[in-house]
Subunit: 364 residues, 2 copies
């Protein structure tokens, strides 16, 4: 139920492997956005006949990709050979904050290399919480019980290059970003509380809470473990509940993940750009538009709710392969259609679009 | 503001160094319980002239300790040479649960060696969450981002010895214990939610929530960092807020830490035993009792509130060296007396007791 869209791309656009992305195939009047975790993959394993389902979409859509290449694309269908611009990560919208924080001192947290992600978006003075913490002795009272290897240390040094221009770590932090799932919740909750309650410098009393941004707000998601795992939304709840107990003003934050309509608007824009870029016959004189954009997801609270809030042209299809497992439609956030698997979802879409008589263009 | 009492012990009782404890000196009618963190120590450093204050107590109380030994005791005054039975840890009351869980499969978490602590209390089938997790593949979705050294691994194997009799890890967990401050909040919140929402086995649906016990409930405490650090109470709030969002019944738990009156009753009992054990003249025919027990603490919410709830003979003295820093008494939980430092507290007690005309017996 993490938010990553995918759709096939023309071969010319391929550059380097990425974990997820958006492909587009040919030009016509509908598109499909796939939620990955819990719909196409569980952990690293395909589910719901997702390979066969995607292969079928390629077969039906034809369009622009050499036969030989299609096979290799399909064999790698779970996210390789995709342009960075085609990936809709939860943190992609952080780019829109560049005008506010490009030259401000900011901290980023989350698994992987959050400071590098932000740096690549153009933020010039970003540090990871990993590095930030290393400049505040005793800030993490249980740090002595955590013994990281040099693997982590090498990330430190890599981040250090990114942030070498940050200089004095006693300066005020102007914003905090949760880029991906936090790894060390206790440390991050402590240090974010330190930064946010103090007005930007742990241990001081400077003023108002600096802005806090989350890339996602999913309470739980379906990963490799049989039952759902806690997501960034759960971390936000933990942070918020602690913060609100130790501070006199409630935590203020902005979450950019699903179900935020911004994410769907952003995905639509990216799909339109892709569609334009492969419109070699220039048939889309007035710019591309979609009669329908299908959102195939497994989580009523983010995928379905988000698609409904985004409104036209989004159409929600809920699978039973992830967070949602019930027989009947979800009560609070009913999808337009409920199916068992992503393969059933594709079957439904192709039949519906075929019936509609449109040129069978798909985006996934 | 962590709960560890201290008082001088007769030399004969000394055995091995422990981080904190209770000492007793001679027999008379008042005792003193010291909160350590924020009153006597901040991190590992003495504060509030605590060394001079304690030395003064020894001088005034006299009683049973050779001159040469007193100096070395005083030089080590922050917690060495104390009997295990004299240490009031937050988890000490877990012993009282032995009749319920002695032979049940239970899990324990917290910094240090929580399973060893429980094992030493007599629990026969206890595993640390560290080890428990190692038997559930993919249970921690960000585990790959945590790279523990062999130092941690050696703890694993040591715990393994403790729990080798536990056998099948798919059996139902009958209770969970938070023994000390959790180190890996995200993992612990995830796994405790797994155990507690499932009725005892992650990924299953077995029944009601197994009991959950906390050794403390301090929201924040004063450690080495200039501002307060989040304590076990903050972890409990984070766990509870997440649990209550993903489960249909609210989290049930029991917290044994201050301000729970049980802790004060327990401390009083221990002090009475100590008093009896050093009553070589058998003057305490009817068993020892205290006219006054002084609680010197830095946290109105746990030290003062707890002493008041415990009632007679507890008398609360609040210092300004830790969590509490205000000029006037705390509004919600006013102490009997507010002073700047532990030295001022001792000064107050000695003058008060001297005025009362009692034999100057002290316990600290």
């Amino acid at each position: 139920m993490r938010f990553r869209f995918k759709a096939p791309v023309p071969l010319a656009l391929l550059r380097r492997p990425l974990p997820a992305g958006i492909h587009s195939v040919s030009s016509s009047s509908f598109g499909i956005a796939f939620d990955i975790d819990g719909v196409i993959l569980r952990g690293a394993a395909p589910i719901g006949n997702s390979e066969r389902a995607l292969r079928r979409l390629y077969d039906d859509s034809g369009g622009g990709i050499p036969e030989s290449r299609r096979a290799s694309d399909l064999s790698n269908l779970l996210g390789v050979n995709i342009l960075p611009s085609q990936v809709v990560h939860g943190h992609s919208p952080f780019k829109t904050l560049l005008n506010r924080f490009e030259n401000e001192f900011i901290v980023a947290t989350g698994k992987g290399e959050p400071a590098v992600v932000m740096s690549e978006y153009g933020f010039k003075r970003v540090v990871s919480i990993d590095e930030y913490v290393s400049h505040f002795k005793n800030i993490d009272p249980v740090a002595q019980y955590k013994r990281w290897t040099t693997v982590q240390d090498s990330n430190f040094s890599r981040n250090s290059k990114t942030v070498s221009s940050c200089g004095d770590f006693s300066q005020s932090v102007k914003a905090a970003f949760v880029v991906s799932d936090p790894v060390d919740w206790g440390r991050d909750i402590q240090v974010l509380c330190d930064i946010l309650t103090s007005g930007g410098v742990p241990g001081k009393k400077l003023g108002d809470q600096p802005p806090l941004f989350f890339a996602a707000d999913d309470l739980q998601y379906q990963a490799a473990f049989p039952s759902e795992r806690l997501g960034m939304g759960a971390f936000r709840i933990a942070l918020e509940s602690v913060f609100n107990r130790i501070h006199d003003k409630p935590l203020e934050y902005t979450s950019f993940g699903k179900p935020n309509p911004f994410v769907f608007k952003n995905a639509e824009t990216i799909l339109q750009h892709l569609l334009q870029s492969i419109d070699r016959k220039n048939t889309l004189v007035n710019g591309p538009s979609f009669r329908t954009l299908y959102m195939i997801g497994d989580n009523p609270f983010v995928d379905v709710k988000g698609a409904h809030q985004a409104g036209h042209p989004w159409f929600s299809i809920l699978t039973r392969t992830g967070v949602f497992r019930q027989r009947d439609n979800h009560k609070e956030y009913p999808a337009n259609v409920v199916v068992d698997t992503v393969e059933d979802a594709i079957e439904f879409i192709l039949r519906r679009e075929d019936g509609a008589g449109a040129g069978a263009e798909t985006m996934l």
